[in-house]
């Protein structure tokens, strides 16, 4: 039997304290303990990026992290990006540009895009492509996602 340990972090701006099995992945804590099911599992092995969350502003595959590796860190999931009535410009732009089809890659795509724009508010299309290169989308063919991100970059919106 694997022992439990106390886990503390700030998730979407709120302090979280839980007792969790030591071998639990970050994605499992988010989905199964905190009910944050916006974080998706597509492969469980770091290939698809559907499970992307931001840890201290950097994108990570939450399927490849033990929760205890992000002890005391600041974690942002899709649920923390904006509220239903007050969308982030990237969310609006994804909808406007048809960058969302089935939506399974969308949370991860939005979060890598946010991480990019926070660091580099004026990326080139090439830089956008590199930023989303760890995230697979099987529906859109990517170009609309790149359009959506560059439209936000052009407006120079920062949040």
């Amino acid at each position: 039997m694997i022992g439990t340990k106390s886990f503390e972090a700030i998730v979407n701006g709120e302090q979280v304290k839980l007792n969790i099995p030591q071998n639990l992945r970050l994605i499992d804590v988010l989905r199964n303990y905190l009910g944050l099911t916006g974080t998706k599992e597509g492969c469980g092995e770091g290939e698809c990026g559907a499970c992307t969350v931001l840890v201290d502003g950097e994108p990570y595959n939450s399927c490849l992290l033990f929760a205890l590796q992000v002890q005391n860190k600041n974690i942002l999931t899709i649920e923390g990006l904006a509220s239903y009535n007050n969308l982030h410009p990237l969310q609006e732009s994804f909808l406007e540009h048809g960058a969302v089809q089935c939506g399974y890659c969308t949370p991860g795509m939005l979060l890598v895009a946010k991480a990019l724009l926070d660091k580099n508010p004026n990326p080139t299309r090439e830089e956008i492509k590199v930023a989303i290169s760890g995230n697979l989308c099987r529906c859109t063919g990517y170009s609309k996602i790149v359009d959506a991100i560059s439209a936000v970059a052009e407006k120079g919106v920062k949040r």
């Binding site: 599992e41 990006l81 089935c102 099987r138």
Partner: protein, 418 residues
């Protein structure tokens, strides 16, 4: 009026905020976790199946084998020839043998490893061309050829005699997985009226419902299939995967059951695009007018029928491509092998033939010293054209306009290429 306007995706808000619920996003208090035992063999007889150790593992609520299915043990979009759980004859790698429902995923996983299966391996066939031969191992006793569609138009022999150039080649395409981003998942439970409810991402809600009712031996109105948000499908969610398994576990335990496939199991469980072996013989006059075409398609159906007949029919119907040919002979076959079963995937049999017929067009053009545009232009379907199956195309034949627009976009001087 909404016609002619771009409307926002109505479920888009939920998708950009992480609120959209895919099947794995549903949880219920007291739910069990379901797992599937699959065979590593492609062709075998089950001699013994011992689930006793798995059943006595603490935390295991139920182990299910073929014997426990209350109704019919078979499913399929055309013929119900895919087993829900194999009774004695394994026909394909990854066939499901047993199911476990347990208090946690870990326990369910451990229980699978405690199930003992003794097999007698049987001869297998992995190439549909081999499977058509008299002496091939039989995937099904009735024979391996599932479907044959001949199309005959005009007189191909005469056509080839009149041809100035003939090109003859073989082409083949490979097996492809849809790899939709959301692996299969489902949650099933019994509702307050005693009916079975299944939340799943599916392309075929009403058929899932029919087949679940048949397998559980209950009335169709006792089954509710609720389609969750679907994380891509591309044809790969037309056949049943975990729908029947999850339903069975709930029906037999009367408890909510959740099943979530890993990516690996997703690859194992759902259909694939048909590999098709194609033979083409195409003849045309020196003006570049097609005069005869002979094609053979041998599609690998894998062990179970799924949509294979319809798909190979579509390949056959598309054999000439969008080109008028007066003399045509096509034979399309769907053939069983012990490979994973093949089914619907974007194009549904129309995606493979272009690899062959367009290559033939390029080769004919080359032989004749014609531009690739010219040979296509001279044979392109237009309003009033008759296809190989005798259909007269009465309206909406936009091929020539499309050809022109593309050629111009390429900067080709079309005036000189007609």
């Amino acid at each position: 009026m909404t016609i002619g306007k771009s409307l926002p995706r109505y479920e888009g808000l939920g998708k950009v905020t992480g609120q959209a619920k895919f099947p794995a996003d549903y949880y219920m208090p007291g739910m069990l976790y379901g797992k599937t035992l699959r065979t590593p063999l492609a062709s075998a007889k089950i001699l013994r199946l011992d689930t006793s150790k798995a059943e006595s593992l603490r935390g295991v609520a139920k182990v299910v084998t073929a014997q426990d299915i209350p109704g019919e043990n078979g499913h399929g979009v055309i013929f119900p020839d895919a087993p829900i759980l194999v009774e004695d004859r394994v026909r394909s790698i990854n066939d499901a043998i047993a199911l476990v429902a347990a208090e946690s995923e870990e326990i369910a996983e451990e229980a699978l490893s405690l199930i003992k299966v003794e097999y007698e391996e049987l001869p297998a066939v992995y190439d549909p061309r081999e499977a058509m031969k008299e002496d091939s191992p039989l995937v099904w006793d009735k024979g391996n050829i599932l479907y044959h569609l001949p199309i005959r138009k005009g007189d191909v022999e005469k056509g080839f005699r009149e041809a100035d150039v003939i090109v003859e080649n073989k082409y083949s395409t490979q097996m492809v997985d849809h790899a939709f981003l959301q692996p299969e998942a489902a949650l099933s439970y019994i509702d307050e009226t005693g009916n079975l409810v299944l939340r799943v991402a599916t392309q075929y809600v009403h058929w899932d419902r029919t087949e679940i009712a048949r397998a559980l031996n209950i009335n169709i109105n006792q089954v509710r299939v609720v389609c969750a948000t679907v994380g891509g499908a591309f044809g790969g969610r037309e056949d049943m995967t975990l729908q029947l398994h999850c339903s069975l576990l709930t029906w037999l335990t009367k408890r909510p059951v959740k099943m979530v496939y890993s990516r690996e199991e997703s690859f194992k469980a759902h259909s694939k695009r048909h590999p098709i072996y194609m033979k083409y013989k195409t003849g045309c006059t020196k003006e570049g007018k097609l005069i005869a075409l002979e094609a053979e398609f041998i599609g690998d159906a894998g062990a179970y029928s799924s949509w294979s007949p319809n798909i190979l029919r579509k390949s056959a119907v598309h054999a000439t491509g969008p080109y008028y040919v007066p003399n045509v002979k096509v034979d399309a076959y769907a053939v069983h092998t012990n490979n994973p079963f093949t089914g619907a995937m974007r194009g549904f049999g129309a995606a493979q033939p272009p690899i062959a017929y367009e290559a033939q067009m390029d080769l004919l053009a080359k032989e004749l010293g014609l531009h690739p545009f010219t040979i296509r232009w001279r044979n392109a379907f237009e309003e009033g054209s008759e296809t190989a199956t005798g259909q007269i195309l009465e309206t909406s034949v936009g091929l020539k306009e499309t050809l022109l627009a593309t050629a111009k976009a390429y900067g080709w001087d079309v005036e000189k290429l007609y």
